[in-house]
């Protein structure tokens, strides 16, 4: 025993439990976290209480930025309203579509991987500018969608320049890309125990009843996961609105991050942009907290009760 200890001490490179070794390997991330996450977060909080335009040093203004955002800034209210509408409509639509298609795909049928590839494909090109350009083109006044609608006798409209439909068109774009939620659902569905279904069909339960009494409860932790993830991501939507509609028409697609971008990086109003970022963080935090607080009513964990 004594020799082992001695040997360990003599060669630090071989000391498995050496704190130094651990921190050496950890150092890239640790430095990154301290310099590029923690420090910027503290600075961002500080800037949010100042008037700062990059050109001259930050000037302390106390709560002025927050006061203005919460009580006097109509653009803040507009952009928050647009974003909330976007989140509340697009996230459930995306998840329901993803779950339904995942259930269709969760069978042993020929060509499953072919279908999966086709359906996942739009999600692959994600938030690229290329797909935004495609969307801008096909939903224009004399675009492909309207021509298609014309064939069945529906008169199309200028989807993207009409304030009533512009946001809906962007929502359609993100819902079209439900692929990653679908694959997560699919992975979850594959793990559901078959014997539960067999037992319940012996008891005479139909498919619909099985869906509500077995599939949904068993899948609820994954639904929660997808819901939180998609909600957080949707609050940060930017590229599509920026490229396709530039926030218009009459600010009907002026999402929150676009406002933040314009304040911070078009007008270099860094103090105000930082305050907007913290307000966004709080809003996302509240949304996530609401989801988690309701989750105990609908999320079913296998460890507590049930099967």
């Amino acid at each position: 025993m004594a020799t082992v200890t001695k040997k360990k001490r003599s060669n630090f490179w071989k000391r498995w439990d050496s704190p130094l070794a651990g921190y050496l390997f950890l150092s890239p991330w640790l430095i990154g976290f301290l310099l590029l996450t923690l420090w910027p977060m503290m600075m961002s909080l500080y800037y949010s209480f100042t008037d700062y335009s990059l050109l001259k040093a930050p000037e302390w203004t106390g709560l002025a930025n927050y006061n203005k955002i919460l009580f006097k800034d109509s653009l803040f209210r507009t952009s928050l309203g647009v974003t909330l509408l976007f989140v509340v409509v697009s996230v459930p639509l995306k998840l329901v579509t993803a779950l339904l298609v995942a259930m269709l795909l969760n069978r042993d049928i020929k060509g499953m991987s072919f279908y999966r590839t086709m359906i996942y494909f739009p999600s692959l090109i994600g938030t690229s500018i290329a797909v935004a350009i495609l969307w801008k083109n096909i939903f224009s006044k004399d675009g492909f969608i309207n021509q298609l609608l014309g064939l069945v006798g529906i008169e199309g409209r200028a989807w993207l320049t009409d304030p009533n439909t512009a946001l809906g068109t962007l929502i359609l774009l993100v819902v079209w890309q439900f692929g990653s939620s679908m694959i997560i659902f699919l992975a979850g569905l594959k793990q559901l125990p078959r014997d539960l279904y067999e037992a319940s069909s012996v008891d005479g339960a139909g498919k619909v009843r099985q869906f509500f009494t077995i599939t949904l409860p068993m899948l609820s932790p994954i639904i929660l996961f997808n819901l939180v993830l998609q909600t957080i991501n949707s609050f940060q939507m930017f590229t599509q609105a920026f490229v396709i509609t530039k926030g218009g028409p009459i600010q009907s697609t002026y999402v929150y991050v676009m406002y933040l971008y314009e304040r911070g990086f078009a007008r270099f109003d860094m103090g105000y942009a930082s305050a907007l970022a913290w307000v966004l963080l709080v809003i996302i935090g509240i949304a996530t907290a609401i989801i988690f607080s309701t989750s105990r009513f609908w999320v079913h964990y296998e460890t507590e009760g049930g099967k």
């Binding site: 498995w16 651990g22 976290f33 590029l36 910027p40 359906i119 494909f121 090109i125 079209w176 990086f265």
Partner: protein
């Protein structure tokens, strides 16, 4: 009898779903060859195939051809891939195999940063990089990735940790008894076995860096350093009446790298998504 009926119904639904999903993409391919007059016809194929959309589109930005923007984009991505794979695998090895004080605490922090919206750090990061004169270079992309703090960094670390935890410890134990140092174990044993996870990381890192429009938009501001995305944005903004054929042709070309990777590595792709926390 009932079963085959149900099966064909299932096929019908899936076929319909696939068609709805993929039709705009097929239409896109055709439209890239169409003239402006034919542009909006719902048919897939143009009457006359206009190859000039590609050649004209390629040279549509004054002074620079798209070759230049592709070279820029791949320069950016090559550096990011290299630094990410090294930094994230080192850090993941520490979390998965080494024991050090506060390990659980740092792991919890890592999990928090996974979900942190980048907006709360972007302004001071910009201020910092601006002071260092790094704006309009690719350093604001390389340096965070060296420190596992670039786009997707914490997620990649998490993904590799999960993978290493699944590897049997016997190999490390045997190597330890043979007198191998932890550096050797990382380099000779864990890293080669972790290859599948590293491939997944590289794939997602490629795609997310390609799609990180916000970062490119704020950090790159002269045309000679533009990436494909910025060039496309310039293209769509700079023309009075948009030459849609050329624009769609160039957009189509721009998704080819992603499409190629997807078809070459579908397995890692699906596994990456299923392991959770993938954006989009």
């Amino acid at each position: 009898m009932m079963r085959s009926y149900k099966n064909s119904l299932n096929h019908l639904f899936l076929l319909l779903a696939s068609l709805i999903m993929i039709y705009p993409v097929f239409w896109w391919v055709g439209a890239a060859f169409k003239s402006n007059e034919e542009m909006s016809s719902p048919g897939l194929f143009p009457k006359t195939w206009l190859w000039s959309n590609f050649t004209d589109g390629w040279n549509s930005v004054p002074n620079f051809s798209f070759t230049h923007f592709y070279v820029n984009t791949f320069t950016l991505i090559a550096g990011v891939l290299f630094t990410t794979v090294i930094s994230t695998s080192l850090v993941a090895f520490a979390f998965a195999r080494l024991d050090f004080p506060l390990r659980k605490f740092w792991f919890a922090i890592l999990m928090v940063t996974l979900m942190l919206p980048q907006q709360v750090t972007i302004v001071p990061q910009y201020v910092m990089f601006n002071k260092l004169n790094w704006v309009n270079t690719y350093l604001p992309f390389y340096i965070p990735h060296i420190l596992a703090a670039g786009v997707g960094g914490p997620f990649f670390v998490y993904l590799i940790i999960q993978f290493i935890r699944g590897l049997p410890r016997d190999l490390d134990e045997a190597a330890k008894i043979d007198g191998c140092s932890w550096l050797g174990i990382y380099w000779r044993i864990v890293l080669p076995l972790t290859k599948p996870a590293l491939v997944t990381v590289a794939i997602y890192c490629f795609l997310w860096t390609w799609d990180d429009f916000f970062g490119q938009l704020i950090y790159i501001n002269t045309v000679d350093k533009y990436t494909i995305n910025l060039a496309l944005k310039l293209f769509i903004d700079s023309q009075g009446s948009i030459p849609w054929g050329q624009l769609l042709a160039m957009s189509l070309v721009s998704i080819m790298p992603a499409v190629t990777i997807f078809f070459l590595a579908q397995k890692q792709f699906v596994e990456g998504v299923a392991s959770g926390a993938v954006k989009g």
